[in-house]
Amino acid sequence: MKFEVTVTLKKDVLDPQGKVVSQTLKNIGIKNLTQVRQGKYFEIDVDEKDSSKAIDQVKEMCEKLLVNQIIEDFKIKKAG
């Protein structure tokens, strides 16, 4: 079963990358840009047929390793 996990910085936490990226986009002529925030993305494949069990496993991965919960939030989605 495949999952897509997105990890984003919590609101109000400084995103130095997003800041530089959005400045650069403006510099190279992109208009109407309000904000860019950068996060991480994982495609995770687990060998488990039970969907709720699988989600629990992915959640465990996030909590134990993938996400720094002090500054980041995460979302798990079953891949289409």
Partner: protein, 730 residues
């Protein structure tokens, strides 16, 4: 609208303290003002528990240009060169978020150095973790190390050394102390003292966000089970912006537009503006609507207490704004005039055309509480440890055990994550006794070392305090540097406890005594109290960062043995003090007994003699003897060079274990050519220095006849295993 008792407590202030605030204001304070007071009056900013003791430290001599009281200390190293340096703790933030905590610690100390007009030329650190088996340690270790590297590497300042120690006393409270060293022209040092009325107060650097609001308060509060809730106060560092800020500030400093400059560190805009005004005996008035903000709808309270990183406050001469702004525009940094200096002696804050705070500067700075906290005399351990099975242990096994222990293992795993070479002036990287950094384009260098000995300080605070200063002095001497001055970071538990305060007072007495005797003044520092979790304080851990000068680059010495047939002499007397030694800790898990005594007269005499021998070109390599005693120090020299040693048995001391592993102080190993033997011996005799022959350099084998026989590659093997295993690398 007055503040409630709950709000007062939440701000870490005592009710008596709030009473004093009311008296100083002549009225109740509003919430914003309370926040400002709490930031200025907390332990971290006000030094309320330590101030009266710090005053006793020696801080002046002929080479000190600026002692404590500014962002960093400044010393004169001859010609027009000045060295600017300071050490600072980031313990609590690093425990909560190791990467960002350590990274922003590095960022903060760099700003302290470049605000003074110095280009940073090196970074050092002292990091202490709990026992490796503790479930939190590995994650903290990895995070802190990559945070330190991540920041320094990116800014492009070499991280050239430091120390790392494991001890269960830090299980719930790690120590992360970062030191920065900069180089400036001694006639172009910049200070934080404001001067002149109606001068523009300029905000430069990153925008203000909601980072670390109450960070300074956090640094002064002990941890408990609820510390998790304090998490969102973590600040995120942006080394890229720091690099821009560094270059922009140094560019602006080339002319004379800056009257005063101050980084925004703990308590951000509050402490920087108050500090400038207080030192200049002036007032300051800010228009908070002008503060560059990252988020919408930030309140005055948030703006004043935010600890967003990579920001500075400047006071500029008249008519210099335009040129200055050009520089900051070039580096894509905010540059906004947010206020002016006044003659009111008050901090006045306006927001939306209303006055939102009005506080006498004196109330925030000079009138901050100072406590003479009660303290109890420590009871130094006097009884020596008796070990029954001492002689049953084989010297070879004991050596291997020490070399492969976490505390004595090779630290390449860590230092390979630090760029040690960038700027191309690193003459000696970490691994030796001190880092050596050339003064750019000159023929001279400085040496830097960072040291601590928590176990010694716990067993006997005063002796421990003396010992670290001496060990630090020795490390500088060992590379051929003349020790000049130190910075210190005093990491202690809860000062409201008598025993902790006692440890603090006595450690400081020891430090003072040694510094005075060695003419080794303290020019800057930091105090970190409340290193305590669930009422358990850490061992007293003062950290000393010393700087010395090497006037001629040809006279730099390292610990690499050079040539087979050369002799190794030991300088200083060996009695065989095993208590508190690495030997007892690693082989018997004994952490008891008194620390080795310090004899300041011998210390100085031995050190100056070694320095003289180095100056006379009589020494080919040198190493001080510290943790692990003679045998471990010899092994370290061998591992560095790849050359073996034939080690002689002691003539007098019959207990070989005591001889080889004792940690008596004031000792060095020096390598000399046999041709210079009598010359060296004469100098040592003339100076009343005790010495002996301990070994001869040979190929490949590290041996004591019939006792120990190891190949250098075996030494490497044992010394290199631990980190790899710990981090699961094959």
């Amino acid at each position: 609208m007055s503040v409630t008792n709950d709000q007062i407590k939440l701000h870490g202030l005592k009710l008596e303290e709030y009473k004093k605030i009311k008296d100083l204001l002549g009225r109740e304070s509003n919430l914003l003002e309370l926040g400002i007071f709490s930031a200025m009056w907390n332990e971290h900013c006000s030094y309320k528990s330590s101030r009266i003791h710090l005053k006793k430290l020696p801080t002046k001599n002929e080479i000190v240009i600026q002692g404590p009281g500014e962002n960093a200390g400044v010393i004169d190293i001859g010609d027009d060169d000045a060295i600017v340096f300071k050490i600072e703790s980031h313990n609590h933030p690093s425990f909560i978020e190791p990467y960002q905590g350590a990274a922003t610690g590095v960022g903060g100390i760099l700003r302290d150095v470049f605000t003074m007009g110095a280009r940073p030329i090196a970074l050092m650190n002292s990091i202490h973790f709990g026992s490796p088996e503790n479930s939190k340690t590995q994650n903290l270790l990895n995070g802190v190390v990559s945070g330190i590297g991540g920041y320094g590497n990116s800014v492009g300042i070499p991280t050239v050394g430091g120390e790392i120690k494991f001890n269960s006393t830090y299980n719930e409270n790690i120590l992360v102390n970062a030191m920065a060293i900069g180089h400036a022209n001694k006639n172009k040092i910049f200070y934080s003292k404001a001067k002149g009325i109606n001068k523009s107060v300029v905000y430069v650097g990153s925008k203000t966000g909601r980072d670390g609001i109450h960070g300074a308060t956090m640094a002064s509060a002990e941890f408990d089970e609820n510390s998790d809730e304090k998490k969102p106060t973590v600040q995120v560092g942006d080394p890229f912006t720091e690099k821009l800020l560094l270059e922009a500030c140094l560019e602006l400093m080339k002319d004379n537009s800056i009257i005063s400059i101050q980084d925004m560190g703990a308590a951000g805009l509050t402490s920087s503006s108050v500090e400038m005004a207080s030192k200049g005996k002036l007032g300051i008035e800010l228009d908070l609507n002008k503060v560059p903000c990252r988020e919408k709808n930030m309140t005055p309270y948030e703006m004043m207490l935010s600890e967003s990183q990579e920001r500075m406050l400047l006071i500029l001469e008249d008519d210099k704004e335009k040129e200055a702004k050009k520089i900051f525009d070039k580096w894509d940094l905010d540059f906004v005039v947010i206020g002016k200096t006044t003659d009111t002696n008050r901090l006045i804050l306006n927001y939306d055309n209303k006055k939102v705070a009005d506080i006498p500067i004196k109330a925030l700075a000079d009138k901050a509480p100072v406590y003479d906290r009660s303290w109890s005399k420590s009871k130094p351990i006097k009884n020596k440890v008796k070990v029954k099975d001492l002689k049953k242990i084989k010297i070879e096994d004991a050596l291997i055990k020490i070399l492969s222990s976490p505390n004595h293992s090779n630290k390449n795993w860590i230092t390979d994550q630090y760029d040690q070479i960038v700027m191309c002036d690193t003459i000696q990287k970490s691994g030796g006794d001190s880092a050596v950094i050339r003064i750019h384009k000159k023929d001279k260098a400085i040496a830097v070392s960072v040291d601590s000995s928590a176990n010694y300080c716990k067993a006997d605070p005063k002796v421990g305090g003396k010992q670290i200063v001496c060990e630090n002095w020795r490390n500088l001497i060992s590379v051929g540097a003349k020790p000049l001055a130190i910075t210190n970071c005093l990491n202690f538990g809860n000062p409201e406890k008598k025993e902790v305060m006692g440890e603090f007072v006595e450690c400081l007495e020891g430090i003072k005594e040694a510094c005075e005797f060695l003419n080794y003044p303290i020019v800057s520092g930091n105090v970190s109290f409340y290193n305590e979790t669930n009422s358990k304080s850490i061992y007293p851990t003062p950290v000393i960062g010393g700087v010395g000068v090497i006037e001629n680059l040809k006279k730099v010495i390292d610990i690499n043995t050079k040539k087979t047939g050369n002799l190794i002499l030991i300088i200083g007397k060996t009695i065989g003090h095993l208590d508190q030694s690495a030997f007892l800790q690693e082989n018997f898990s004994i952490f008891d007994g008194p620390p080795p005594e310090i004899n300041l007269t011998n210390e100085k005499n031995n050190g100056l003699a070694v320095l003289k021998l180095i100056k006379d070109n009589l020494v080919q390599s040198a190493h001080d003897i510290s943790s692990g005693g003679i045998l471990v120090s010899l092994a370290e020299m061998s591992m560095f060079s790849g050359l073996g040693l034939k080690i002689f048995k002691p003539k007098k001391l019959t207990n070989h274990i005591e001889y080889f592993f004792g940690e008596d102080q004031g000792r060095y190993l020096i390598e000399i050519s046999p041709n210079n033997k009598s010359k060296v011996e004469n100098i040592l005799k003339k100076n009343n220095v005790f010495f002996d022959h301990v070994a001869e350099v040979q190929n490949d084998t590290f041996e004591i006849e019939k006792v120990l026989n190891l190949k250098i590659k075996d030494l490497h093997f044992y010394n290199n295993q631990w980190y790899k295993k710990y981090n699961g690398i094959n």
